[in-house]
């Protein structure tokens, strides 16, 4: 096992705890930078999509994994981000303005949802956000003057300062860059007081209040940031699909996002990457497996939602810490081999709490 000797506070605050740690991430980012040199277009677009999912996932992770609020409506933020950006962009706004503007506006709508849902938690919040997503879907469909309604909205090709980003390689780098900035910002937030106040609200609302954390402000902020990041992902997604229509954003997307954070591992940014990888690869696997299955089953459809649903339930039951938690255990196993004890990860009995406020 590696003991990190902390000789000053800076060490504890820094993103990378030791050199080898930093080296791994530099290698990973380096690989992603040179990847387009030897990947064909298919894999390039798959990775681009993975980056977009990871951005949206980081947004949802802030809310679900760090603040402890659940949302089934995040597809709405993604849709809003996509539509707002596409509309502004079609009216001549430059990309560098219309993308941030769409993220900020989506964040503003997130504030409204946050305030409206303050008194709700758990299943009630899930239902309320679900209802919000349905309303947004209806608005997009029934406001053809602005959104093109069911006939859809063509997204203009992306250009940045006269430079076309339309090729799959250019767009790959665009999304990778945005992703890296988003992750850096989120990591920074999480090692600052605001990020910790999210965690405080997640783990104990009364303690958080006793420590001076304003629940209303904190939850609203979490909703706003979460919505803004998901909106940003939506804006990038708009160019990825090139054509917007209400059916591109269904509840299925919300569930996929939720699955991303759960399967990856709640409360971890590594989990976002694992989760994004997972939801990008599963449809591919299904596509391959499909050829092997009896045609009856395949023709009935719904194979994807079924798989996603089943996986989600399996994870909730057997591996609540997600892929990242599993990875940590595997890593510990090898670093302590042959001394690994199964008991290490058994949860201690928690102490009984009374129902009332104590």
């Amino acid at each position: 096992m590696r003991f990190v000797l902390k000789t000053n506070y800076g060490r504890d605050i820094d993103i990378f705890k030791h050199r080898a740690h930093a080296a791994w991430y530099i290698v990973l980012i380096g690989l992603l930078i040179i990847a387009p040199l030897f990947l064909d277009v298919f894999y390039e677009t798959q990775l681009t999509e993975l980056f977009i999912w990871a951005i949206a996932g980081a947004g949802l992770m802030l809310l679900v994994g760090y603040t402890g609020l659940v949302s089934l409506g995040h597809v709405a933020f993604m849709a809003l981000g996509a539509y707002i950006h596409a509309i502004l962009y079609s009216r001549g706004w430059p990309l560098v303005l219309s993308i941030p503007a769409s993220a900020i506006m989506t964040g503003g709508i997130g504030v409204l949802i946050g305030v409206a849902s303050l008194r709700m938690t758990g299943i009630y919040l899930a239902i309320a956000t679900l209802a919000f997503a349905m309303i947004v879907e209806k608005v997009l469909a029934h406001w053809p003057a602005l959104t093109g309604g069911h006939s859809g909205f063509r997204v203009d090709d992306p250009t940045l300062f006269g430079l076309s980003l339309d090729s799959s390689t250019a767009y790959y780098y665009t999304c990778l860059t945005v992703l890296l900035f988003v992750f850096l910002a989120v990591i920074n937030l999480l090692r600052s007081p605001t990020g910790r106040s999210f965690i405080a609200v997640r783990d104990s609302e009364i303690s958080a209040q006793a420590l001076g954390v304003n629940l209303l402000r904190t939850k609203t902020l979490a909703f706003a940031l979460s919505a803004a990041l998901t909106g940003l992902a939506g804006a990038l997604y708009a160019h990825r699909i090139g054509f917007l229509f209400p059916d591109a954003f269904t509840i299925m997307t919300s569930i996929m996002l939720l699955m991303l954070v759960v399967v990856g591992g709640l409360g971890s940014l590594h989990g976002v990457v694992f989760g994004a990888f997972f939801i990008t690869i599963v449809p591919q696997i299904i596509a391959i497996v499909r050829d092997w299955l009896p045609t009856e089953l395949v023709q009935r459809g719904g194979l994807e939602p079924l798989t996603f649903g089943a996986v989600l339930i399996l994870f909730l039951v057997f591996e609540p810490l997600g892929f990242y938690g599993r990875w940590v255990k595997v890593r510990l196993f090898f670093s302590q081999f042959p001394l690994y004890r199964k008991k290490t990860f058994l949860r201690q009995k928690s102490y009984l709490k009374t129902e009332r406020v104590h």
Partner: protein, 250 residues
């Protein structure tokens, strides 16, 4: 410093507190004792503003705090612990102590996104403070341990540490010794005295352990069924006939 005047609160039909008054002087250690269900924790919840008083008022440093919102209480300088411990379970002890310094934060979300030098400086200051508290309460061995794998006794101490990280003027301790073994209890009584004398923090403590009360506190409020029985120094209160009755259940 803290003054309650004729406070009452009831839940449905239960009169949890009835016309209770008491006054805590700056610098003292004031204990509240009473049998189960006497309303001791409820008094704390009224001060923390988790409950609204039905009648009466509570003043802190001369200012009426009966209408202040719960999260604003911390900024006034009041910190507390909980009878059953309310820590941030999935986080390490250090992180708990850092979260506790929330009211001292001077940075905005925007600067935190960029992690400007100001944010870094603040983080270092927060860690210094946390380390001071860790040293004071001998928590060095648990710094990086997550709370859900700590024994109950240590959690109680961590919770006191968390309250201290707020730099409070007044500290409310709800049954600090319950669940501690005799050695831990002994350490606790020294710490309570240190906190009071060296850090100059006024303490209000709900306690059952008469020994601990006798050792550290200046005055004791004994209550039963939401009402005051008597207030005085520990020796007087211990032998007061009403108090003896209340504990014998007559």
């Amino acid at each position: 410093m803290l003054e309650a005047e004729g406070i009452s609160v009831s839940f449905g039909g239960v009169h949890a507190i009835q016309d209770l008054s008491f006054k805590v002087e700056k610098g003292e250690i004031f204990s509240i004792m009473g049998p189960n269900g006497a309303g001791k924790t409820t008094v704390f919840n009224l001060i923390s503003r988790f409950y609204d008083v039905d009648e009466g008022r509570i003043a802190f440093e001369g200012e009426d705090i009966t209408k202040v919102s719960p999260h604003a209480i911390a900024r006034k300088g009041i910190a507390r612990t909980f009878q059953n411990v309310e820590l941030f379970e999935h986080e390490t002890v250090l992180k708990n102590l850092l979260i506790a310094q929330h009211i001292h934060k001077k940075t905005s979300v925007l600067t935190e996104f960029l992690f400007t030098p100001k944010v870094r400086k603040q983080e270092i200051a927060f860690r210094r403070k946390a380390e001071d508290v860790i040293d004071l309460l001998h928590l060095q061995n648990y710094r990086e341990t997550t709370v859900d794998s700590l024994p109950f006794g240590i959690r109680k101490i961590v919770e006191i540490g968390r309250a201290l990280c707020m730099d409070p003027k007044l500290l409310l301790l709800d049954e600090p010794s319950s669940g501690l073994n005799p050695e831990e209890s002994e350490d606790l009584s020294f710490w309570i005295e240190d906190i009071n004398e060296d850090l100059g923090i006024t303490i209000v403590m709900v306690e059952h352990d008469m020994n601990l009360i006798g050792q550290v506190s200046n005055r004791v409020l004994a209550m039963a069924d939401g009402k005051e029985l008597t207030t005085g120094n520990p020796e007087e209160v211990r032998v007061h006939p009403d108090v003896v009755d209340a504990y014998l259940g007559t």
